[in-house]
């Protein structure tokens, strides 16, 4: 049990410190690396409370895909040189009130969640779906998501699809004059299309690409 507690505190310490470092570090790429460290330690915490499926999916989706794209954008935009000037400037930034507002809202939401869980223990009994402890995480998630919550699940998929199509439409541009390769055309070519035998008359030559 003690070992469990020690590991828990190590991971939560890493998570909190790296979350602070995301906002404080001067180099934007370093911020993203700290964000990744944060994701990893949080997924370790998920695994520690027995939510191994959630932890692994967090690793695969956030660290393996989302953060890679994030890092990609940050590196490509070359914001590495652009220093984080929040702490250097004399505080005349207009982003601070907005950030404060958002963080206050999140703070109160957290208080409500933790308060409800802490001071009303019977809140957990109001869950309508019974929890079967024999099943593994994955099985119980699957049996709920694909039956009781199928509409919500598909709706969230639709939202993601719409976002994806939107991103594609926004960045799509038709370029003219680009020679495209078609595998079918290449494979279905035969000798007749490629080679033409011509009798060339003397002193006249032939016209190519007429």
């Amino acid at each position: 049990m003690i070992a469990h507690a020690i590991v828990f505190y190590i991971f939560s310490l890493i998570a909190i410190v790296s979350a602070i470092m995301v906002t404080v570090s001067k180099n934007t790429v370093n911020s993203v690396f700290f964000l990744i460290l944060d994701f990893i330690s949080i997924s370790c915490l998920f695994i520690m409370i027995g939510a191994e499926f959630l932890g692994m999916i967090m690793l695969i989706v956030y660290v393996g895909a989302v953060a890679v794209l994030f890092l990609f954008v940050v590196m490509m935009l070359n914001v590495a040189q652009q220093k984080n000037e929040w702490f250097n400037s004399s505080g005349r930034s207009s982003h601070i009130p907005v950030g404060l507002l958002v963080s206050i809202i999140i703070f109160f939401e957290l208080i409500i969640v933790i308060g409800g869980w802490k001071y009303k223990p019977d809140l957990l009994d109001s869950i309508t779906i019974e929890i079967n402890t024999d099943l593994t995480n994955t099985q119980s998630l699957g049996s709920v998501i694909y039956t009781d919550y199928i509409h919500l699940f598909q709706l969230s998929g639709m939202v993601l699809l719409v976002a994806m199509i939107g991103a594609i439409v926004l960045t799509f541009r038709q370029r003219s004059g680009v020679k495209r390769q078609s595998y079918f055309k290449q494979i279905s070519r035969d000798r007749k299309d490629g080679i033409e035998l011509v009798e060339v008359e003397n002193n006249k030559g032939v016209k190519i690409d007429a």
Binding site: N30, I60, V63, M75, M76
Partner: protein, 332 residues
């Protein structure tokens, strides 16, 4: 006291697994070069030790004694971290590989997800190395590699779903035991082919080794690395290749199971079968390196997104409906 005992027992088990993996990585490099040379009618490394077996050890020794050069304009912390990350990620994945029904370090519920997660983290070593070098070629190599690995992971994920549909569990031992009657390579043969090609792309092996295409990018993300740090990248890469071969043999070739339960086959111990299957897949990897020319980058992307992804998605639907129709779904 008992806890201390468990601790040391685990350490012993980890060493018992890691040291053979590291040694076999060295041997596999030699095998790779030998197969390559064999295809091209050369001799390959044959001087150091019997059949040149110790060539890799000699190379490693050379790397240890070489100077580690850290470029002046690089981001030093990340530059040093990158090979360490690559190497560590390639080695920690071996924790869940089951060598037999009892011989597995960590028999976790979501073993296949763990493998997938660790292999998707592998891209960070490359990106970190490429970016921290603060130089054009490594950066381009890292960008290429990141896009390539993310693309092919998608199709590997869908292929894994195909296998999981037939098994009904995410545990690697369960996946192997489900193949007792029929290896999944037979009903899911097209998926095996796609998995194999995606594994080539995922480990940056030829014909998909664009991140280190020497004609365009010198050595890609490794350009600025030297000495032991380069060797660590190199070891991590080959450990990753072995891991992909192990994943392929567990998902499709029945892991530690022998092909038929008859006399000459079933006296061979179970871990041996897994090792033989890994070797078989690795020799295929090495042969492909020797005989297939490198892809162009747009062809690579087209293959991943426009051919493999739709095809494996359609195959998921086919597998699911087949199992549903004939009432073969596991656990029902």
């Amino acid at each position: 006291m008992a806890e201390l005992y468990i601790f040391f027992e685990q350490i012993y088990k980890i060493l018992f697994l890691l040291i053979p993996v590291l040694v076999s990585v060295a041997m596999i490099v030699w095998l790779d070069r030998r197969v390559w040379a064999f295809v091209q009618k050369r001799r390959g490394p044959n001087v150091v030790g019997p059949f040149g077996l110790f060539q890799t050890l000699a190379d490693a020794l050379k790397y240890i004694f070489k100077e580690i050069i850290i470029p002046a304009s690089s981001n030093k912390v990340i530059f040093i971290l990158a090979p360490i990350v690559t190497m560590t990620l390639a080695l920690i994945a071996w924790a869940v590989i089951p060598f037999s029904e009892t011989f597995v370090l960590a028999d976790i519920n979501v073993g296949i997800l763990y493998l997938f997660a660790v292999s998707s983290l592998g891209v960070y070593g490359i990106i970190m190395g490429g970016w921290a070098s603060n130089s054009k070629y490594p950066f381009l190599g890292a960008i290429r590699s990141a896009a390539q690995m993310v693309s092919y992971e998608v199709s590997i994920g869908v292929i894994i779903i195909n296998v999981l549909l037939c098994v009904g569990s995410l545990n690697l031992s369960d996946i192997v035991l489900a193949q007792e009657d029929l290896w999944f390579v037979i009903p899911l043969f097209p998926m095996f082919i796609i998995f194999f090609i995606s594994a080539l792309a995922e480990t940056n092996r030829p014909p998909f080794d664009l991140p280190e295409a020497e004609a365009e990018l010198v050595a890609g993300y490794q350009t600025e690395y030297s000495g032991m740090m380069y060797a660590m990248f190199w070891l991590g890469e080959y450990a990753n290749i072995l891991l992909m071969c192990a994943m392929g043999s567990i998902l499709f070739l029945g892991g530690w199971l022998s092909p038929i339960d008859l006399f000459p086959f079933n006296i061979i111990p179970a871990p041996m079968w897994l090792i033989l299957k890994i070797l078989f897949l690795f020799i295929l990897f090495a042969l492909i390196k020797a005989i297939v020319p490198r892809y162009r980058y747009d062809q690579l992307m087209k293959l991943g997104w426009k051919i493999f992804l739709p095809f494996s998605l359609i195959y998921v639907v086919l597998t699911a409906s087949f199992l549903m129709y004939f009432n073969l779904l596991p656990g029902s």
